[in-house]
């Protein structure tokens, strides 16, 4: 069966510090991978998606970036965090086989102070 991991679970970072969140998927090959953010009191906003290694599409211009160095690894980064980057970050995957259901990881809660 497929599983998706995210770490860390919780992170407190000062403004201006760098960020690296990692997501890995097990039990599947060539998945589509997604990064979402849920800000307080809001729905889930798609940040990035990837259909393959090295292929990243950005949905929202911001100071965040994403990379996919391996087939089942997706990384969310920032060089300098802003207060507004605080939120709950979720990684998701789908099979990449034209199946429209996405499955989510446990999330990372980021607090920027």
């Amino acid at each position: 069966s497929q599983t998706i991991h995210q770490w860390p679970a919780t992170l407190v970072q000062p403004v201006g510090s760098p960020l690296s969140l990692e997501c890995t998927v097990e039990g599947t090959s060539n998945p589509n991978l997604y990064w979402y953010r849920q800000a307080a009191g809001r729905g889930l906003q798609l940040l990035f998606y990837s259909v393959g290694i090295g292929q990243i599409s950005s949905e929202v211009p911001q100071n965040l970036s994403a990379s996919r160095p391996q087939d089942r690894q997706f990384i969310l980064s920032s060089k300098k965090l802003l207060l507004s980057d605080s939120g709950f970050y979720l990684c998701a995957w789908d099979s990449g086989l034209h199946e429209e259901t996405q499955y989510f990881g446990p999330g990372t809660r980021l607090l920027v102070l």
Binding site: G43, L44, S57, A92, D94, E100, T101, Q102, F104
Partner: protein
């Protein structure tokens, strides 16, 4: 512009009764609709979905209804149980090309099932 709207931020229902969660959308290109359930500090869990070519899909206690002409869908939970208490997100999907799908989420409805 919010393309997927869940106009009720919260809903309280007595245990054993029916819970009805509503969702409206504006983009006629959406071709697949999903409901997710989310507990605090956890990722959303997929619950049930429906293709735009259908008007009903049922899975146990959960039924999703789609009214394409009204651009409206609803999730029915019967009977409601205390463990159903969570935030429910409606999501709509469109093919973004190259085999990936973009999900657009509503802001969620917090369901509280009272014992």
């Amino acid at each position: 512009d919010q393309q997927v709207k869940q106009n009720s931020p919260s809903l309280s229902v007595q245990e054993g009764r029916i819970s009805i969660l509503n969702c409206d959308y504006t983009n006629s290109m959406f071709d697949y609709f999903l409901w997710y359930k989310k507990y605090p500090a956890e990722g959303p869990t997929f619950l049930i979905s429906i293709s735009s070519i259908k008007d009903k899909n049922e899975d146990g206690r959960f039924t999703v209804f789609l009214n394409k002409s009204a651009k409206h869908l609803s999730l029915h939970i019967v009977p409601s149980q205390p463990g159903d208490s969570a935030v429910y997100f409606c999501a709509a999907s469109v093919n973004s090309g190259a085999g990936s799908y973009q999900l657009t989420f509503g802001k969620g409805t917090k369901l509280s099932v009272i014992p």
